[in-house]
């Protein structure tokens, strides 16, 4: 949480008295309730009066909503109010029919999530098949993946990473909370293991330089 505190540290504390914590909690509550999308601590700070510390208010507010019908959840660096997942059956009326994702799209999404930042060539190597433009486009359109930094290898290929919208959709606090991530990593299945010489896909140009250290960097 230290990063949150840093972000919320007001630069000038002198000019106005910050509102009492109870009031700050009400303000955070009102702002989060009003927004369908997660709100970052920085934005909360910007919208609240001078000297307010939304990070602290978030902690107490989160406790207050613990076990309620609506919960305060963390999404990446932002926070949002969401109905408790166990009450989903009451909300069928609100369900938005989402397009069925193809198997290729689901697998590609999982590979981006678990291997990010990942290049298209790496996705293709893992799936053993070419990734169609439409698959990537669909995930980009859903705003579940976005372009990351270019890889510093010959050709400077673009990489893909998952977005906050992705985290929000799957109720994840961060990409570190992906199910089974630790097990996959300790089994070495997230390594970019260079193929020994000739390989069927002949993907000599792309792998090897991924560097595990780059995974899940912020």
């Amino acid at each position: 949480m230290s990063d949150i505190n840093d972000a919320a540290e007001p630069i000038e504390k002198t000019l106005f008295e910050a509102p009492p914590m109870g009031e700050q909690e009400r303000m955070v509550e009102a702002i989060l309730f009003a927004s369908a999308d997660p709100v970052s601590v920085a934005e909360l700070t910007a919208r609240m009066p001078h000297g307010a510390d939304p990070a602290e208010a978030l902690v107490t507010l989160r406790k207050r909503y613990d076990g309620r019908g609506v919960n305060l959840v963390r999404v990446g660096d932002a926070y949002a109010m969401r109905t408790a997942p166990d009450l989903g059956h009451l909300m069928r009326k609100e369900t938005v029919e989402t397009r069925k994702l193809s198997r290729a799209a689901i697998e590609t999404l999982a590979i981006v999530a678990y291997h990010q930042p990942v290049t298209r060539a790496e996705i293709e190597e893992i799936r053993g098949v070419a990734v169609s433009r439409g698959t990537v486009d669909q995930l980009l359109e859903l705003e579940w993946i976005r372009l990351g930094r270019r890889r510093m290898t010959p050709g400077r290929p673009v990489t893909f990473v998952v977005t906050e919208t992705f985290l929000d959709h799957f109720g994840l606090e961060s990409a570190r909370d992906l199910p089974g991530l630790k097990e996959l990593r300790s089994a070495g299945l997230l390594d970019s293991r260079p193929s020994p010489g000739l390989t069927p896909a002949d993907e000599a140009e792309d792998d090897g330089q991924i560097g595990q250290s780059e995974l899940f960097e912020d």
């Binding site: 969401r82 290729a104 799936r127 053993g128 199910p179 020994p196 010489g197 390989t199």
Partner: protein, 262 residues
């Protein structure tokens, strides 16, 4: 055909059924790796201990049958088949002493790794999709309140900007008299008219400066303008073949004479 039947007969009935099912379904596979993963399931072992040799054979049988049934296989299936045939031979033969490159065991291990990784990613994808999802299991605020955005624009300009702007205008201003003040300018057209008239009277060589009208030789600005105009007019006439020009030395007076008509 008999040969093919013989090949087929070597397969265990279960394997044959599996292979036939696969053939029917060839369009359902997402590439050779997907097919290999499916084939490996028939071994019913941990993917780490999968027999790549056995897998290679299964794959080659699959490809052979597909070809027998005249099913068009995509190129990458055939590339994989060629590679697996190569790997199979490498695995069966003793390693050549002093051979370069990775060993057959390394290649087999990497293939097993690829299969395990693909399988793990599929499981991960399934687990991801099984999570509570927004809009299906949990919901956002149904009446989000729009944040009214008030955009406040402040304009900035520094004293330096102001001075620069003024300097820019004033610089423009200072050139204005030069443009406006036509009474200090003698144009080439004027000089040309004048010289055409005068040249006929001057039968012999005459100094160019003698053509400059009275009143244009004292004021330096007028003198410069009229000299330039007459010089240009002279060149114009020389080009038209109307006059000859001569100059004794550098900076010596320029003299002109009407060219005799032939």
């Amino acid at each position: 055909m008999p040969d093919d039947w013989e090949d087929d007969a070597r397969l265990a009935p279960l394997d044959r059924m599996a292979a036939e099912a696969l053939i029917v379904d060839v369009d359902g596979f997402e590439g050779p790796l997907d097919l290999l993963l499916t084939l490996s399931r028939t071994q019913k072992v941990d993917l780490r201990r999968v027999s790549v040799l056995q897998l290679a054979e299964q794959y080659l049988v699959f490809v052979a049958q597909a070809q027998m049934l005249r099913i068009e296989l995509a190129a990458d299936y055939l590339v994989m088949a060629a590679w697996l045939a190569y790997l199979k031979s490498r695995l069966l033969l003793p390693p050549e002493p002093g051979a370069d490159g990775p060993s057959a065991e390394d290649l087999a291990a990497h293939l097993a790794f690829q299969l395990e990784r693909l399988s793990a990613m599929r499981d991960a994808a399934a687990r991801l999709m099984a999570r509570d999802q927004r809009g299906r299991d949990f919901f956002v605020r149904g009446i989000p309140e729009d944040v009214m955005r008030h955009r406040k624009i402040t304009y900035s300009a520094t004293l330096l900007d102001l001075m620069r702007a003024y300097a820019r205008i004033r610089t423009k201003d200072e050139f204005r008299p030069f443009v406006m003040d036509r009474n200090h300018v003698f144009t080439m057209e004027q000089a040309l008219d004048r010289m055409r008239g005068l040249i006929g009277y001057a039968g012999d060589w005459a100094d160019l400066t003698s053509f400059i009208p009275d009143g244009w030789d004292i004021n330096p600005m007028r003198r410069r303008s009229s000299t330039a105009a007459h010089f240009a007019a002279m060149l114009e006439m020389a080009k038209a073949g109307q006059v000859d020009i001569r100059q004794g030395d550098t900076f010596a007076p320029i003299q002109i004479k009407r060219r005799e008509a032939r």
